[in-house]
């Protein structure tokens, strides 16, 4: 009788009728490796930049308005050499990361905390919705007024963009936590704090980490917009200054570095997720292909 219970997911998968295991053809399967995919992506990028360069050389596009890959490369090398690019990147990165960490932690804790009291949650809900419906970027001038034109105001703006997102995501996830698991803990005599630690926190982690990805983007928006308004340093400052001087190549360098920063941070969160949520990595059946 145990044999049935022990039947593995892999066996079940093997028994699936062939018709629904369609999946990719032989060529797609041969190319679908890390190397193969990377090669295709590299070619796509190379073709894009080559076409851009050729279009500028041939006079179909004006370098003055769109920049050119060769010019972008020159600016990139120069700003890398004189160290200004590193300084600007560092500023924006630290502003975004600090804003992300403070906003996300404060928001998540507040959101999870609302689980403790249905009354408080119901009372504050309309306020949260109202505040959240304000485009936070519109707060930027006030934030600059309050926190000055330096580093702190950019962090504050990033916090204002991330905190409510975190709060809402955490609160929603806490509300969705399985009531039966909570009942089980209660029947064992668990205290409310114990249920919070053992059920609410772990069951909300996937949603909270999912929100990290959104908030990393928002934190960068906060830092860059803050720098647009007034600053002496940072990628936002670099982009804003260059565009007012019609130096499109420098604008592109700033944008590409920002893109790179966002990309790296996104993958850092992937690593964090794999560390914190090992139980989400296990797959039940060998991926069903349709």
């Amino acid at each position: 009788m145990t044999t049935h219970a022990l039947k593995s997911a892999a066996q079940a998968e093997a028994e699936r009728p062939a018709a629904i295991r369609r999946g990719p053809g032989p060529l797609a399967r041969a190319v679908d490796t890390t190397l193969g995919r990377g090669l295709i992506q590299a070619i796509a990028v190379a073709v894009f930049f080559a076409a851009w360069e050729i279009a500028v050389d041939a006079g179909w596009l004006t370098e003055f308005l769109v920049g050119a890959p060769s010019g972008i490369w020159r600016v990139f090398r120069a700003s890398l050499m004189d160290g200004s690019l590193a300084v600007d990147t560092w500023y924006t990165l630290i502003e975004a990361i600090l804003g992300f960490v403070i906003g996300t932690i404060a928001g998540s804790l507040a959101g999870l905390g609302l689980w403790y009291s249905v009354l408080v949650a119901r009372v504050v809900e309309p306020f949260i919705v109202a505040i959240n419906s304000v485009p936070k970027i519109a707060l930027a001038p006030i934030v600059i007024l309050w926190f000055g034109t330096g580093f702190v105001s950019k962090v504050a703006l990033a916090v204002s963009l991330t905190a409510l997102v975190a709060l809402i995501a955490a609160y929603q996830a806490a509300r969705d936590a399985d009531p039966d698991l909570q009942a089980l803990m209660a029947s064992m005599g668990a205290s409310k704090n114990r249920i919070f630690r053992s059920v609410i926190v772990p069951s909300t982690l996937p949603a909270i980490i999912g929100m990290f990805r959104i908030n990393i983007g928002f934190a960068l928006v906060g830092a860059v917009v803050g720098e647009f308004i007034s600053s002496q340093r940072g990628l936002g400052h670099m982009i804003y200054n260059a565009s007012s001087l019609y130096d499109l190549n420098t604008v592109w360098v700033g944008l590409f570095v920002l893109m790179f920063v966002g990309f790296v941070l996104y993958h850092v969160i992937d690593v964090v997720e794999r560390r914190i949520l090992p139980w989400r990595q296990v797959s039940t059946a060998g991926g069903i292909q349709v």
Binding site: M1, H4, D180, L181, S187, M188, R194, P202, T284
Partner: protein, 280 residues
């Protein structure tokens, strides 16, 4: 007496000392149109080392009874006596098992099984040893570090049973624990449950809509009926062999089965229950 006195229910009480007595339990829920009474003065006894099934038509408040005993719901009126002492509920003294296995997906099998010991504050090393021992005993050795997601439904429910037993609760509360499983796995787990209950000397309260399972496993069956519901009857079940298959092969099995179906207004044999047909 809150329910119709019958020779059966009287006989059911003489078996042994009473462990948990429910007296006049009332409970209603708030709905938009006003309070809806669910339990109307429910009274019955659970004996030491008893195996009591609570059956009744759907919506009769079986799960409400379950939650009241577990201490998850407070009754509007009535008392519960545990070994003669009035208690509000049995939080911390019951093991709880539902149709859903309720394993924590973020915990490994071992960590899931240890949950109750952790809450009791057992030394972690000792708890790990105990948990490993139980897992090996119930044929889950080698799956300590697996996540529940990777196990079959039967194995998950077995892990849930171990988690319940390892806490050494006074009473096991089971709410249709096997109804999501296929018949084979279910018979197997019924056997595992009966063995474990026998070995550890536990009292079991099983809430189910499945008359077949109630008869095969129970020493006594409490039938609820009416809206709001009361105890309609208590049937002692006497079968020679208590294994899941042995019980079902006993000639008395089908008599119990038909009697209980009759109580629930389910027509099972042409004509015999015709008077109940319109009620169903």
């Amino acid at each position: 007496m809150d329910h119709a006195p019958t020779p059966d229910s009287a006989a059911g009480r003489t078996d042994g000392p009473v462990q948990l007595a429910l007296r006049g339990i009332r409970k209603s829920f708030q709905a938009k149109a006003g309070p809806v009474p669910v339990l109307d003065g429910l009274s019955f006894d659970i004996l030491e080392r008893d195996f009591v099934s609570i059956i009744g038509p759907s919506g009769c408040g079986k799960t409400t009874v379950f939650n009241v005993i577990a201490g998850l719901l407070e009754p509007d009126a009535g008392t519960m006596l545990f070994r003669g002492q009035p208690v509000a509920g049995l939080r911390g003294r019951v093991g709880y098992m539902m149709q859903k296995d309720l394993l924590f997906p973020w915990r490994t099998v071992l960590q899931n099984v240890m949950l109750g010991l952790e809450m009791k504050g057992t030394d972690p090393r000792e708890a790990t040893d105990t948990a490993r021992h139980y897992l090996a005993q119930f044929g889950l050795g080698g799956f300590e570090n697996a996540y529940p997601k990777t196990l079959s439904g039967g194995m998950r429910q077995r892990a849930a049973l171990i988690r319940t037993l390892i806490m050494d609760p006074d009473i096991l509360l089971l709410d249709e624990p096997f109804s999501a499983l296929d018949y084979q796995t279910r018979l197997y787990l019924e056997g595992v449950l009966l063995d474990a209950v026998e070995r550890f000397g536990k009292t079991v309260v099983l809430v189910t809509h499945d008359i077949d399972e109630a008869v095969a496993l129970s020493k006594r069956v409490v039938v609820l009926g009416g809206r709001p519901s009361r105890v309609k009857n208590v049937h002692p079940i006497v079968l020679g062999d208590r294994s899941p298959i042995g019980a079902r092969s006993d000639p008395r099995f089908s008599d119990y089965f038909h009697t209980l179906c009759g109580e629930l207004d389910i027509q099972t044999r042409g004509g015999t229950a015709s008077s109940h047909a319109e009620a169903a």
